[in-house]
Every structure is written in structure tokens, then in C-alpha cells.
């Protein structure tokens, strides 16, 4: 039975890097009403940046992660200010198509800069190694991921519930016109929310690379995972994204163990069933 517990814990650690990318996606949708196809590409950019700063240039690990986030924030700002902003009055289809254009550009840009082969940065020495859990060696790095995921969850909760910025963002999300009438600088809120979302994606990428890899195709793969999670949890819901990440992470950990052939298929079955039966998401009560 130990394998069940152990694999469950592996699943939780997988869930945490999924949580980081899904949190950004769902926040952006919740406030801006935009489905950002390029969110997976921001994850990819975060991964490559961490690889470059830490793996190639030898910067300290923490600084490398922070620099990756900064790059993603700038990219996010350009995407929102320079492009998306001009499409809010149009059908959502155009926003999807625009962000798909970003996917194409960023995927190729990564290939041009870093080449077509995948890169794996080393695990920092202080996070290397393993300790015994359920009689098996559990990597310290995965433990670190779980801790980061939980901390980010608490941080986001505090950010949205306890700060002035969080109140403004929630007000904007629930009624854009009213917030505007009350003097909220809505365009500024949109930009900051998009940047926070981009940084979350990049954080997922930067911290996820040592156990996944940085490769040109990961953006397209990750965005699909994030779609599944945010749909299961309810588009726009942070709590839902957290729970959805746990469901998908744990399912895929057991899936690779017990039913590797159907794992991918089942994720999409769950996504479809939720969309058909409870489009507002499994973990959202109402509205």
C-alpha cells in the first residue's frame, strides 16, 4: 500500500507546478475575460530563462527565478498594453486568435535562441537529494515544490483578500463599469493582473524545469493541461484551480502507474463531462 501513498505525494508535487500555471490563467480569465493561449508559452519562457540564468550563467538560484519572473512580467505587459487592450471590444474569438499568434511567435523564438533540443538545468545543491517517505526515497526538490505551491496559494489569497490592490481587482472583476465609475483605473488593473498572471506562469516554468524539461513544445502541452484544470475547477476561480490541479496531478501520477494508455484520454473525458454537466466548474458553488 506504500506505493499508493508515495505516488500520491508525487502527484501532489506535480500538481503544484500545474497549480502555478493554472492560477495565472484563471486570474486573467476571471478579471479580463480573456483565455490566454500564450499562457503556456510564458511558462516555457520562464523555464528557458531559469535555465539560462541558473544553468548557463551561474547566477544564484533565487535570483535566477526572480529574473525569469521579471522577463515574463515585461512580456505580459507588452502583450496586454500593446495588443490585447485594443481587442477587448471584439468577440472573444479574436482574443483567442491573437494569443495563438503569440504562441507561434514565442515557440519559434525559443527555437531560434536556444535551439531545438531540450535543456535540463541542474537541481540546486541545497535542494538535491531525497529523504525516505513510505519506505522510498522522495526527492527533496519535489518537497520544495509542494511548499512553494502552498506558499503561493496563501500569498495569492492574502493578495486578493487583504490588500488594496486585491480589493480593486475583485471589484473590477465583478463589475467593470461600476469600478470604472468609482474611479478605479481599469486599464491599469488589467495590466497588473496580466503581469501577475504571466509571472505565475513563469514561476511554474522556472521551478518546474528541473523535473520536467525546457523544450520548444512544452508551451503547447502545458496550456492544454492548464485548460483542463481551470475548466474542472471553474474558469475564473482560484480555489477551483488549486483543487483542479490536485485532481489532475494526482490522477496523472496514478495514471502513469496504473493505466498509462488511458491517462491522457481520461483527462479530456473529465474536462468534457465538466463542461457539459457543470460548466461553472466542479468546485464553484454558484456564480
Amino acid at each position: 500500500m506504500d506505493i499508493i501513498g508515495y505516488q500520491g505525494l508525487i502527484g501532489v508535487s506535480l500538481a503544484m507546478s500545474l497549480w502555478l500555471i493554472s492560477a495565472g490563467l484563471t486570474i486573467i480569465f476571471g478579471v479580463l475575460g480573456v483565455i490566454n493561449f500564450a499562457h503556456g508559452s510564458l511558462f516555457m519562457v520562464g523555464a528557458y530563462m531559469a535555465y539560462t540564468f541558473y544553468g548557463l550563467l551561474g547566477f544564484p538560484f533565487g535570483l535566477s527565478v526572480l529574473l525569469s519572473l521579471a522577463v515574463a512580467a515585461v512580456l505580459g505587459l507588452i502583450m496586454e498594453r500593446g495588443f490585447l487592450r485594443h481587442l477587448y471590444h471584439l468577440d472573444h474569438a479574436y482574443q483567442l486568435l491573437l494569443t495563438f499568434g503569440f504562441v507561434l511567435v514565442l515557440d519559434d523564438a525559443v527555437k531560434i535562441i536556444w535551439g531545438g533540443v531540450f535543456k535540463i538545468p541542474p537541481i540546486p545543491r541545497f535542494l538535491d537529494g531525497a529523504w525516505p517517505v513510505f519506505g522510498r526515497p522522495f526527492p527533496v526538490y519535489n518537497t520544495f515544490l509542494i511548499a512553494v505551491g502552498i506558499l503561493v496559494g496563501i500569498g495569492l489569497w492574502a493578495l486578493f483578500e487583504k490588500t488594496w490592490w486585491g480589493r480593486v481587482v475583485r471589484a473590477t472583476a465583478s463589475d467593470r463599469e461600476m469600478a470604472n465609475a468609482l474611479g478605479v483605473n481599469v486599464p491599469w488593473v488589467f495590466s497588473t493582473v496580466f503581469m501577475v498572471g504571466a509571472m505565475l506562469a513563469a514561476l511554474g516554468g522556472a521551478l518546474g524545469t528541473p523535473i520536467r524539461v525546457a523544450a520548444p513544445g512544452i508551451g503547447a502541452a502545458m496550456i492544454i493541461q492548464a485548460f483542463i484544470i481551470t475548466v474542472i475547477g471553474g474558469l475564473g476561480s482560484l480555489k477551483g484551480a488549486f483543487t483542479g490541479s490536485l485532481v489532475v496531478g494526482i490522477l496523472s501520477a496514478y495514471g502513469t502507474l496504473f493505466f498509462p494508455v488511458f491517462e491522457l484520454f481520461f483527462s479530456f473525458v473529465i474536462m468534457t463531462v465538466v463542461l457539459l454537466v457543470r460548466p461553472q466548474g466542479l468546485f464553484v458553488h454558484s456564480n
Binding site: F83, H92, L96, F100, L104, M271, L275
Partner: protein, 330 residues
């Protein structure tokens, strides 16, 4: 919310000239150009079906590659057992239409983002079946050695299509028929109803239209066209691979349609041609074709939402007519 009526870019003489040029093409051009034109024809057909759903009905599907792949795989399976082209292409098309009617019945319960997500999930479900069901689909290797089977018409002798010119003419006839039927369809009362539903979903039922039935029909026809386009591919390439069903393949007809123009009947055809030609030209210079494509997509979405055919149609037909009709309230 007002949408301009779909403009007709193709006038009679222009269409005749284009068809004549297409018929003469293999006599004048080499094998490579003929092959490229087959690809254009197939993508145009694929995009034309997609745009019935997107431009005419207002539903953006991200799962059309699923039906494309069903058409291709079923056609390939048939040809591997029974080398008869009509049987293979027909079987693939029918199979795709059947899958489309089943998945469509579920998909059209939603619109907008939820519809896009749902079709994305269905398409990826088909992808994961193609990728993982190794015994039937060949897994990630796909199916290989698919013959370019002869064309057997009931009773009469069979026509060999082993040369690329012969196969080109077969594809040309199929695609022209497809274009003709689509043209009739969008100008029929049914086609006009679809546009009415797109423009005023809440009003349509008051004049007695069943919104769901219309959407389901459009979805099925789009799936059928995707399946037909997919079924034309295995005899050309002699192979099918799971990537045909991937969501990134679903983007091809979307981008082609966007390039050509969403609100012009010939948009997807013009876009299909531009897509393949631009890709071919760029790939000669650099492997990084997608960065160019992405840039083009961004420019089109930002500033030229009518597409190339839309711009031309606007200049030719009504210089003052406001295009960019794709405005819908959020």
C-alpha cells in the same frame, strides 16, 4: 452587432478563369507545383467547412482536426484492406460526419468560449485515441504504406491514379463539387438562417427557428468537410500520423480562414492558397516558418480582420461598405 452580408468576391468570369487555370495546371507546371496545389485544394476544403461554423454560424471550433483525422484514418484503414479510392474517401467522410453529429449534439449546447473549449477537448480526445491505440492506429508512428488506390466506378474499368497528375484531377473534381455545394448551401434559406442566428441568437427562435438544430447541422457539415479533406490526404502522402488530430492542426483552417477573410465566401479558399504558398516560400529560406506565421496572424487580428479577400471584396464591390463586421458585445 450588425454583420454585413457575406460579400461575393468571385464573379462569374473570374471563377471560370480560375477553374480553367486549375484544369490546365498539371499540363504547364511540374510535379512539385501540382503537389502543392493539391495541398491548397485540401486545405481550402477543410477551411471552407470550418468557416461555415465560424464565419456563418459564429462558433469558433478548436477541434476540427479531430474530424480531419477521423476522415484520414478511416480512409487509410479502408485502403489498406480494400484498395478502392471511392470507398476509402467516401468511408472516411461518412465516418467523420457520424462522429461530428455525435460530438456536435453535445458541443452545440454551448457557445463562445465554452464551445471552443469543448471542441478543443473533443479534438484532443480523438488525438489521444490516435496516439495511444497502437493496435489500430499504429500509435505515434501512424499508418504507413497506404496505396494510392485506383478509382473504380461501379461496373466500369478502374482508372489508375498512381501519377500525381491523375490524383490531382480526382482531388480537383471533389473539391470543386465541395465548393459548389457549400456555395449553394450558404446562399440557401438554411445559410441565411445560420447568419440570422449568429447575429441575434435570442431573436431567431421568435421567427420559429430552432437554434440548436441549425447549429448541429452546421457542425455536422463542417465535420463532413473536414473528414473529406482529411480523407484526401492519405492517398497523397501514403501515411497518416496522430499529429493530424492535434489542436495545433485545428489551427490551420482557422489561420487560413483568417488570412483570406471570414465574411467572404471565397475567404477560406483564398486563405488556403496564401497559407500554403507563404509557407512554401518561407520554408525555402528558413525553418522558422511559425514565427512569420505568428507575426502575420497578429497583424491580421490587430488591423485587418476582414482578411485579404475581405479587403479586395470591399474595394471591388462596395467601396464605402464598412467591413469589420465581427463586433459582438462581450
Amino acid at each position: 452587432m450588425m454583420h454585413a452580408r457575406h460579400a461575393h468576391l468571385m464573379s462569374g468570369p473570374l471563377t471560370t478563369a480560375l477553374v480553367a487555370a486549375l484544369i490546365a495546371l498539371p499540363l504547364l507546371a511540374g510535379n512539385y507545383l501540382t503537389y502543392l496545389t493539391i495541398q491548397i485544394l485540401i486545405l481550402s476544403l477543410f477551411a471552407l467547412g470550418f468557416n461555415l461554423l465560424f464565419g456563418y454560424t459564429g462558433l469558433l471550433s478548436f477541434g476540427q482536426a479531430g474530424f480531419y483525422a477521423v476522415g484520414a484514418y478511416i480512409c487509410a484503414k479502408i485502403l489498406l484492406v480494400q484498395p478502392s479510392l471511392l470507398l476509402g474517401v467516401g468511408g472516411g467522410t461518412v465516418a467523420a460526419a457520424v462522429v461530428a453529429v455525435l460530438l456536435g449534439a453535445l458541443s452545440v449546447r454551448h457557445t463562445r468560449i465554452y464551445f471552443s473549449m469543448l471542441t478543443l477537448a473533443f479534438g484532443m480526445m480523438i488525438y489521444s485515441v490516435a496516439w495511444k491505440w497502437r493496435d489500430v492506429t499504429g500509435g505515434d508512428d501512424g499508418l504507413v504504406g497506404i496505396p494510392r488506390a485506383p478509382l473504380k466506378i461501379l461496373g466500369t474499368a478502374s482508372i489508375s491514379l498512381s501519377t500525381i497528375e491523375h490524383y490531382y484531377y480526382f482531388v480537383l473534381v471533389v473539391v470543386l463539387l465541395g465548393v459548389f455545394f457549400m456555395y449553394r448551401l450558404v446562399n440557401s434559406p438554411f445559410g441565411l438562417s445560420l447568419q440570422a442566428i449568429r447575429d441575434g441568437e435570442t431573436r431567431a427562435p421568435f421567427v420559429g427557428m430552432s437554434v440548436t438544430t441549425h447549429r448541429l447541422l452546421a457542425f455536422t457539415i463542417a465535420g463532413l468537410y473536414a473528414g473529406l479533406a482529411g480523407a484526401l490526404l492519405p492517398p497523397l502522402e501514403n501515411t497518416v500520423t496522430p499529429v493530424m488530430a492535434h489542436w495545433t492542426t485545428s489551427a490551420d483552417p482557422i489561420l487560413a480562414t483568417l488570412l483570406g477573410g471570414i465574411y467572404v465566401f471565397s475567404g477560406p479558399i483564398v486563405g488556403g492558397a496564401l497559407f500554403i504558398i507563404i509557407k512554401d516560400l518561407i520554408v525555402r529560406v528558413t525553418v522558422h516558418w511559425s514565427i512569420v506565421l505568428g507575426t502575420v496572424v497578429i497583424i491580421l487580428v490587430m488591423g485587418f480582420r476582414g482578411g485579404v479577400a475581405g479587403i479586395v471584396a470591399g474595394m471591388v464591390a462596395r467601396p464605402r461598405a464598412a467591413p469589420a463586421p465581427a463586433v459582438a458585445s462581450k
